[in-house]
């Protein structure tokens, strides 16, 4: 049996959609026995959601006011304790998981694999390197624990219909006081979440200004899409950082990805490779985005985007 611990990301009582994808990765490991750990102030609601994911054998709920808002320095020692006796510890490859999991790995003295896209066994995994320009198959020594983050774009969420038991756990470890949460500022939006949206419309530097960037909103409204941006557009201040798609931003796998005024740097393409259909609109017919686009249109985005919006 391979004992797998999945670390749950949650906020405001809601389980992050990445958790069901991590469970999907966990159950793809042969002979998996999957435990989900929910570390929260209360966490009852998130734990109940986790218990409902098919394939989960049990949910461990650790309640402590210090657990929210989540800070890696506070969560890591508790998770290292919970991880004892497990073969694989999985977290999502979101900023939450990327921040937390290496700290857990170091406390366990375990190696970490980042962004695993497939599990071939409990010791053999596939992961992208060089901004997705190469896929590595890696193997770890058997009998030693491994920590990994799961590339959420590579997995379909595990379905519901599970009925695991929720066990409350007290974890007796000293928690540091050296790290304190101050604030979080997030743009409130009614749009679908970029990471999980079925459709995404992204804008690039060619939009030219923050004001012009709004041009793509109408199209996103028509298609019920989330909005994304290239690094160039974020660097230029046209769009906030959380919209960045690419190697160092969000890696997404929507059914439809529309790139507007994005030339398609390697680092951007790595974030959209798993999209089912890629549409590109760009005035430069030589732009690398057209090499990966399923449907390409060369022309002036300022006239084309309103026209397309009208036709939809």
């Amino acid at each position: 049996m391979n004992r797998i611990l999945v670390v749950a990301e949650h906020a405001g009582g809601k389980l992050n959609a990445a958790v069901a994808k991590c469970v999907a990765c966990a159950v793809s490991i042969p002979d998996a026995d999957v435990t989900v750990a929910v570390l929260a102030a209360d966490g009852a609601e998130a734990a109940a959601s986790a218990a409902g994911i098919k394939g989960v054998a049990r949910v461990l709920l650790v309640q402590n006011p210090a657990n929210e808002p989540a800070l890696a320095a506070i969560l890591a020692p508790q998770l290292a304790k919970l991880a004892e006796g497990h073969d694989v510890v999985l977290g999502p490859s979101t900023t939450f998981g990327k921040d937390l999991m290496p700290r857990v790995a170091a406390l366990l003295g375990a190696p970490q694999l980042s962004d695993i896209m497939a599990a071939e066994s409990a010791t053999r995994f596939r992961r992208p390197v060089y901004a997705g320009n190469a896929i590595a198959t890696v193997e770890l020594p058997a009998g030693k624990p491994v920590v990994a983050t799961v590339r959420v774009a590579s997995f379909q969420p595990a379905p519901g219909g599970g009925s695991a038991a929720v066990e409350k756990r007290a974890v007796d470890v000293a928690l540091p006081k050296h790290t304190r949460f101050v604030s979080v500022s997030a743009a409130r939006t009614d749009r679908p979440d970029l990471q999980t949206a079925a459709r995404v419309i992204s804008g690039g530097r060619a939009l030219g200004s923050a004001e012009n960037f709004k041009l793509i909103q109408g199209l996103a409204d028509k298609l019920g899409a989330a909005i994304g941006a290239s690094r160039a557009a974020v660097d230029a201040g046209y769009a906030p950082n959380e919209l960045q798609v690419g190697q160092t931003g969000k890696i997404i796998a929507p059914e439809l990805y529309v790139a507007i005024g994005i030339s398609g740097a390697i680092q951007h393409l790595t974030g959209i490779k798993d999209a089912r259909t890629i549409v590109a609109i760009n005035k430069d017919s030589e732009a690398p985005i057209f090499e990966v686009a399923d449907i390409g249109l060369v022309g002036d985005l300022f006239s084309l985007v309103p026209e397309i919006e009208k036709l939809l």
């Binding site: 320009n133 540091p176 790290t179 304190r180 979080v184 500022s185 259909t277 549409v279």
Partner: protein, 249 residues
């Protein structure tokens, strides 16, 4: 002395289109331009700015890697680092090993801040800073887009999935940089000349008493699956028709 330790990794340059060797044993490196990992240049720039504000006295750049990494450390010295340390090894080093090496350097140098890139653009691991912070039992502030020092506390704005998060950490602490923390300065010719006179110490990794044997074995590298060649449409109407045909509009 208030020191800042900065990590510099030698990687294939950002602009190179990386190709996998036909036998799957690695990627093509012959005749390929090598540079400092871009996130590490951002880390160094931030350290220099902290020093220029009078909030640090010395910036030390450190690298773990082959002899050739001296080139990237010389560039760091030209940018403004005061001295450099190369922990030399020809083997492949994994983040847990680099973190333990940095921990040794931290014990020697007792820096107030360690600033590292959030990830290297070759292995894309995003682990070393967090691992160092755990081994050192100190705070970590990852993916930083703003850093302010207030006495013995650092206030750091972090780029997270939800937006921007601000945390406060007691010093000493490990900071890892995100893209928008700053824009690194260009190296000027006279600074390259001056950098030649700055100290660059070389330590053999083997002399540090760390087990550097890799735990993760790479069995093979493959190029990613290629996407099917798409179609070009000539106007908005054709585009919308193509979307409708695929059930996407």
């Amino acid at each position: 002395m208030r020191k800042i330790l900065v990590g510099i990794k030698r990687v294939i340059d950002y602009n190179v289109r990386v190709r996998v060797r036909p036998d799957g044993s690695g990627v093509v490196t012959e005749g390929v331009k090598m540079s400092a990992n871009p996130f590490d240049s951002i880390a160094l720039e931030e350290a220099l700015r902290v020093k220029e504000r009078g909030e640090a006295d010395e910036v030390v750049a450190a690298s773990v890697g082959p002899t050739e990494s001296q080139q990237q450390l010389r560039d760091a010295l030209a940018m403004g680092a005061d001295r450099a340390i190369l922990v030399k090894t020809d083997g492949n080093v994994e983040p847990p090993v680099v973190a333990r090496v940095l921990q040794k350097l931290v014990e020697r140098e007792t820096p107030r801040l360690v600033i590292l890139g959030k990830q290297a653009i070759d292995d894309d691991c995003n682990q070393t800073g967090q691992m160092l912070a755990a081994l050192w039992d100190r705070p970590q502030a990852t993916f930083a887009s703003k850093l302010e020092l207030q006495g013995e506390v650092a206030r750091v704005t972090r780029e997270v999935d939800a937006g921007l998060e601000t945390i406060e950490v007691d010093l000493p602490a490990v900071i890892t940089t995100d893209l928008r923390l700053n824009e690194p300065r260009y190296i000027k010719l006279p600074d390259i000349m001056k950098a030649k006179k700055k100290p660059l110490d070389i330590i053999e990794l083997a002399s540090l008493g760390i087990d550097a044997a890799p735990l993760v074995k790479t069995l093979k590298l493959e190029p990613p699956p290629q996407r099917q060649k798409g179609i070009m449409v000539k106007d908005a109407a054709e585009l919308v028709a193509a979307l409708k045909q695929r059930g996407l509009a």
